[in-house]
Symmetry: C2
Subunit: 208 residues, 2 copies
């Protein structure tokens, strides 16, 4: 991704992208900005402003060519540069993420899962194998993987993070509620479901 796109815009672009995927499945070739705007409950002018960030968005007489618009969003958001990652922790959340096929179309390639439960090791989920956690350092090195998606229980999160860091993992997408202690060379992205819920709850349910 060459442009520095603000978080809110990039979030909207992924929503537009979801709509394009649906239109293609439904065999619809064109879409207009008011159609997109109405679907998302936002203003038409916002959609058109966002599209100004795209190269070749497929403008046509009646709006946009769905296929071109989808490709353009993918290029702008950098989906073309696929990244390999491991899922560490094969509980329900880890398995749910392993089955989340959308990751792939957004440039995240899950190569394998890890767990310390012998009952889970060697199982396959969505064509991905679950390995014993002890195999991670070697596999990370051989496959050149430096991204880990952490989905272990909170009480094990720091210990497993330390192990990942010693295995040269540089990026941790942290789905646990733990706040991880990491050296400055390691980046953590906290997937803050709570913060997200609070936004939802505060804005729309509890009220400002």
């Amino acid at each position: 991704m060459s442009k520095n796109i603000p978080e809110k815009v990039s979030n909207r672009l992924t929503l537009y992208h979801s709509i394009m995927v649906e239109y293609i499945e439904d065999g619809i070739d064109t879409i207009s900005s008011p159609q997109i705007a109405q679907r998302l409950g936002i203003d038409d002018s916002q959609v058109r402003k966002d599209f100004k960030l795209l190269n070749n968005p497929g403008k046509c007489r009646v709006g946009y060519l769905v296929k071109d618009l989808k490709d353009s969003i993918e290029k702008t958001l950098g989906f073309a540069h696929a990244k390999d990652a491991f899922i560490v922790g094969s509980g329900h959340l880890g398995l749910a993420l392993a089955k989340y096929d959308s990751f792939n179309s957004y440039g995240l390639n899950i190569l394998a899962l890890f767990d310390n439960d012998p009952q889970k090791v060697d199982l396959q989920v969505n064509n991905k194998q679950i390995f014993h956690i002890s195999k991670l350092p070697n596999l990370a090195q051989r496959l050149g993987v430096d991204i880990a998606i952490l989905t272990v229980p909170r009480k094990n999160a720091q210990q497993v993070a330390d192990f990942l860091i010693n295995s040269n993992i540089k990026y941790i997408w942290n789905f646990t509620p733990a706040v991880l202690k990491v050296p400055p060379t390691v980046k953590v992205w906290n997937e803050n479901l709570m913060g997200s819920f609070l936004q939802f709850a505060c804005k729309d349910i509890i009220g400002d």
Copy 2:
């Protein structure tokens, strides 16, 4: 929540809260703003600025009283006003969310799960029962629940959302990649894991 707190601040407050939970578990009574700042890799002045939004944050000679600070964050973010919700879809993601005990401490009370798979109906997960989806309208009315967490497969998402709306559900926390069509009386919060990953990937891996 009486104050209108920006999303980034509310996200940081939930991270501070996680650290307080951990300190209490570890039996530590006080914490300083530089300790919190260092842990999150942010500036001390940012932490102190955020704390200015709190009532009675427990300021003391060496920093803050952990218990008071935790209570104050909870009050400010409105955790006290617990909300009841259903999880609709008992696949891996639904089960993972049902087991996510942190929801409770943040004021979200999952009463039950729903699915259409007879093999799952009547099972218990984390002391919550899985009901057949056909029971939802009646239970929603009897229990006064108007929040649903949607974790069904994308291809069923719209159909199930329509069913929820007909059951008087007013708030849908959408974990599916589908962009839902809903009437203006229904609010949807899209849990955009893709947008989140792209932020992570673009900021820290691919680079600006």
